[in-house]
C-alpha cells in the first residue's frame, strides 16, 4: 500500500509505519500524481474526493493506493471524474483564511481523520 499526501500531519503520524510519498503541492496536483500512479498499475483504495469539504476549500488530500499487475479501469475512470470535478470549484487562497493558522491546522486534522477512518477499514 502506498499513501500519497500533501498533509504534513499524515506524514508525521505514519512515516514510520506506512509507505508514504509526501509532496508539497496543491490538492488537484495530488489527484494528478495519483492518476499517474494509476497508469503505472496502482489501484485506488480510497475515494479521491473523500470528505465533503470542497476541493477549493481544503488544501489537503491523502489518498491510499495499492500496486497491482494490470491497469485498474475503475480507478482510471474515478480519478478522471474527480479531477474534472475539481475544476468546478474556486480555489481559496490559504492566506485568505480568516484565521490561517487555526484553519490550516483544522484542515490537516480533518484530512488525517479521514485517512485514519480509511485505515481502520484497511487493517
Amino acid at each position: 500500500m502506498l499513501c500519497i499526501t500533501n498533509n504534513k500531519l499524515v506524514l508525521d503520524e505514519y512515516k514510520n509505519t506506512l509507505n508514504i510519498e509526501y509532496y508539497d503541492i496543491p490538492l488537484k496536483d495530488i489527484l494528478i500524481k495519483t492518476r499517474d500512479k494509476i497508469h503505472e498499475h496502482y489501484k485506488l483504495l480510497t475515494h479521491p474526493l473523500s470528505g465533503s469539504i470542497k476541493p477549493g476549500e481544503t488544501p489537503y488530500k491523502t489518498i491510499f493506493i495499492e500496486k497491482g499487475n494490470k491497469l485498474d479501469m475503475d480507478s482510471v475512470i474515478l480519478i478522471e471524474n474527480c479531477i474534472n470535478m475539481c475544476n468546478n470549484f474556486e480555489i481559496i487562497d490559504k492566506s485568505k483564511y480568516l484565521n490561517p493558522e487555526k484553519s490550516i491546522q483544522d484542515f490537516e486534522i480533518i484530512d488525517l481523520s479521514l485517512a485514519k477512518s480509511a485505515l481502520s477499514s484497511i487493517h
Partner: protein, 76 residues
C-alpha cells in the same frame, strides 16, 4: 472527442487501451490496443515483431471502418 468527430459525419475508429473508457466516451467502432504507454507497440519484443503487432491493430481498424455497425462495437 470521438463523438465530435463522429458528429461531424466522419466515421472514426477508436484504438484504445481501456475499452470501458472508450465505451463511456461514446465510440462506436472500437479496437482494443496494447497498453497505456504504448498502445500500438510493445517494447518487450523486437522492432520487427512490434511492427507486426501494430500492423494487426491497423488491419483491424480498417475492418472496423468498413463494417456497418448500429451500436457500439468492439472489434477484438
Amino acid at each position: 472527442m470521438v463523438k465530435e468527430i463522429e458528429r461531424a459525419g466522419i466515421p472514426v475508429v477508436h484504438l484504445c487501451t481501456v475499452v470501458p473508457i472508450s465505451l463511456t466516451v461514446g465510440a462506436n467502432r472500437i479496437v482494443p490496443a496494447i497498453a497505456i504507454p504504448y498502445p500500438l507497440g510493445n517494447p518487450a519484443v523486437s522492432m520487427e515483431e512490434e511492427k507486426v503487432i501494430r500492423r494487426n491493430i491497423c488491419e483491424k481498424a480498417l475492418v472496423a471502418l468498413t463494417t456497418e455497425v448500429t451500436e457500439q462495437t468492439v472489434f477484438e
